[in-house]
Amino acid sequence: MSDKLRTRTNINKVIALSISWQRENLLARGLGLEHLRDLLLQLARPILRTGASLAYAGNWLEDEGNFTFDLLRLISAEQEDNSLGGPDTNIQLGLLYNHSAWPHYLKVTARIEAQWINCCRIVRITQQMAGICDPDFVPDQEATTESARSKFNGAICLSAMRRLTMSPLVLDIPDAPSILIPAIEARIIMGGKVEGFSGFMPGLFEEALVTLEHNKPLFILGGFGGGAQILADGILRSSGNYPSELGLEWHKEKSMNFARFLDETKNFNLPTNVDSSERAFKKLVNYLDKANSDVVSTLNTGLSTEDAIQLLTTSNPHQAVKLVRKGLIALGLLPSA
């Protein structure tokens, strides 16, 4: 291993990437999937070279816009060969943490997990881990049904998964030492769909919310559309108002499925650590309000006010990468050049 190439300053630190491709959003800004891949590589590689791990909650389908395999291939290329008993044999290298909530993890086969076991740790968030009580458990074989309980439990698990990523998590392994999953140290978000989600609120919003609640750095690349731009608009409020997508009513009007889901599950009990949709949207708006008056300490990115605002608005991928790196350096999560 070369000290010039890699440091071990960030071992056991995890940086989350919430980045998704939405064709129209990007194309309207003159960019395509290729630009997003470039951006992801430019962000992820220097992070990995500090010994840190990445968290990305993508699925395991080989389709465009899912960056799970791009990240795995990158990690694979970055890992030294530590299989031959050389000096690096016992050094823990950065991994991809793929947090996966019930019932989504049921689709992850042993073969997939085995193929990528040296690059990736799949963290399954079960109904039990999500705080769902025994009588309300839905058996795995009924997970795909459209029953209200199944959808409700799925939403709870998604919510719990996002919350659990923010604290260290110990996974008990039968007859073997337990595994520690480190907490997420900072999150970088970009794009993100705000319609057609399956939880209590759009995933990107909830990820931003839990990051803000834990006062961890939140890099919002708002110039590329999607949920991140809505959050940026919610902070900057250049039009004077909050974007309507930040209100529960907008989502109920926009999506009959979501309105029906809320109606069907209104009498179900939520675990104490999971917020209802209404409460979650209110909390998010409060944080955006706070960021509006003090963007530096609320987003906590290590950037100056001017740079933080530029990151919220720029649609230039190089500028965005430059600013995120600058923030990570200021936070001590990347070495200075």
């Binding site: 291993m1 190439l5 129209e24 309207a28 970055e78 649609s315 230039n316 190089h318």
Partner: protein
């Protein structure tokens, strides 16, 4: 020197536009941050009226509130190349017509070259300002049964299972794309490759009308078993391009005319490229090894001292290795090839010569671009920076660092950075060197 940025324009209703744009991007940006930036302009910009225009080009002035965003990275560029994929939708849309005229006539802080591509016969009905330009005309257009072809192409691209008919349909689209890329590559050579100092290029560029610069392609081969591919490549270059091919007919030793021309060409500012036909006997032919060794010797093109820091700029001409060994043949390795890209020769691919020659010209374009970008890298006080226009490998690095034994220095190379495994090897061989990519330095 030209540092271009490229914009591909297509109308949102053009069914081929996005396919072509993405292929242009992946051709000119072959991965890991190599090559000039390519941006798209198609869908209306956020906040634009329905059927409005895409975002302005960098620095383009539309209205006082609509000026294309510039940043430090886009300000480095000094040439905008606008590739307009012109079809009936673009021609019939008054908004786009107006924009294209504006792009052609409006002054800009950067030189701007427009390369129109005719996707159908209506393309020649563009506004006068564009009509006077020469259009690229990809072979095979217009396509019939376009929807079926596009479905098949998409399945093929995503590695989905295709029927024989679908495979042929995908190949039909692919051949049009290849034709476009070939013509585009040749046009870009006129804009980007080095020329004699006396030649004056107008500020409003009509790319296709500029005389092509001098490009010399050297064909290195062993006469005993590599002659057939070399001859086919030579014939293609003579008949289908305006480049010069140098082909050592006589297979004689290194004192030949071939080597003199090679030496002369490497010392001149014009562009040289080599295609080495690697047959089974190639490795045991001393003059073949000498040719490739000579060609792969980097050249120092500039030495700039700023303050107490020094930048040395180095150039390497592109080499493509054509793997032409018969099945089951044995041969020694050729270390001089270093990390040069390799293409497998096949008599079953009818346009294999075109693909190889187009690829080596593309690599020459990228090399020139990276040389231009290298010139913009600042010196660092107290440091010696050796700036390369190629991805480093041990063989070429040995030449570059020869004059700096045991000296701590920085090697700056194109792109976003090598993979960890590659850098590990380089650091093991060259512990006194620090390696940085252009992206790391410029961002």
């Amino acid at each position: 020197m030209n540092i271009p940025e490229i914009f591909v324009l297509w109308h949102p209703s053009c069914p081929l536009g996005e396919i072509f744009a993405r292929r242009i991007n992946s051709w000119l940006r072959p991965g890991n941050g190599l090559g000039p930036q390519v941006y798209y302009r198609s869908l209306p910009a956020p906040g634009a009226p329905k059927n409005g225009l895409p975002p302005p080009l960098h620095g383009e002035y539309r209205t006082p509130t609509q000026i294309g965003e510039e940043s430090a990275s886009t300000k480095i560029t000094n040439l905008q190349i606008v590739i307009a994929l012109v079809d009936e939708h673009m021609v019939s849309d008054p908004t786009w017509r107006h924009w294209l005229s504006q792009l052609r006539t409006q002054g800009s802080s950067k030189r701007r070259a427009i390369i129109p591509v005719a996707l159908d016969a209506t393309a020649y009905n563009t506004p006068n300002e564009l009509r006077e330009l020469n259009f690229l005309r990809p072979a095979g257009l217009p396509l019939t049964n376009l929807n079926d072809l596009l479905v098949a192409y998409e399945k093929h691209r995503l590695n989905q299972k295709t029927s024989l008919e679908e495979h042929q349909q995908a190949e039909t689209v692919d051949s049009v794309v290849r034709s476009l890329l070939k013509q585009l590559t040749e046009t870009l050579t006129r804009l980007l490759l080095p020329r004699s100092k006396n030649e004056v290029i107008p500020s409003q560029l009509n790319a296709v009308d500029i005389a092509p610069p001098k490009v010399s392609i050297f064909l290195s081969h062993a006469k005993a078993d590599g002659r057939v591919p070399a001859q086919r490549l030579r014939d293609y270059i003579y008949s289908q391009t305006q480049m010069a091919a140098f082909f050592d007919e006589n297979d004689i030793a290194i004192s030949s005319v071939f080597s003199k021309v090679l030496n002369y060409s490497l010392d001149s500012p014009t562009t040289a490229a080599m295609i080495a036909v690697r047959s089974a006997r190639y490795a045991e032919r001393p003059w073949c090894r000498r040719e490739v060794s000579l060609f792969r010797k980097p050249q120092k093109v500039d030495n700039l001292s700023v303050g107490v820091g020094t930048n040395e700029q180095w150039r390497l001409h592109p080499l493509i290795v054509v793997e032409a060994m018969d099945d089951g043949c044995k041969s020694l390795g050729v270390p001089e090839f270093g990390n040069a890209p390799t293409v497998r020769w096949s008599t079953d691919i009818p346009d294999i010569e075109e693909q190889i020659v187009t690829r080596v010209i593309r690599d020459a374009l990228l090399g020139t671009y990276h040389s231009a970008l290298a010139a913009s890298i600042p010196a660092e006080p107290g440091k010696l920076r050796l700036i390369l226009n190629w991805l480093p490998d041990p063989t070429t690095l040995l030449h570059v660092i020869r004059n700096h034994p045991d000296q701590e220095l920085q090697i700056i190379y194109p792109g976003q950075g090598l993979a960890g495994a590659e850098l590990d090897i380089l650091y093991e061989f060259f512990p006194q060197i620090w390696f940085y990519s252009f992206e790391e330095i410029l961002s």
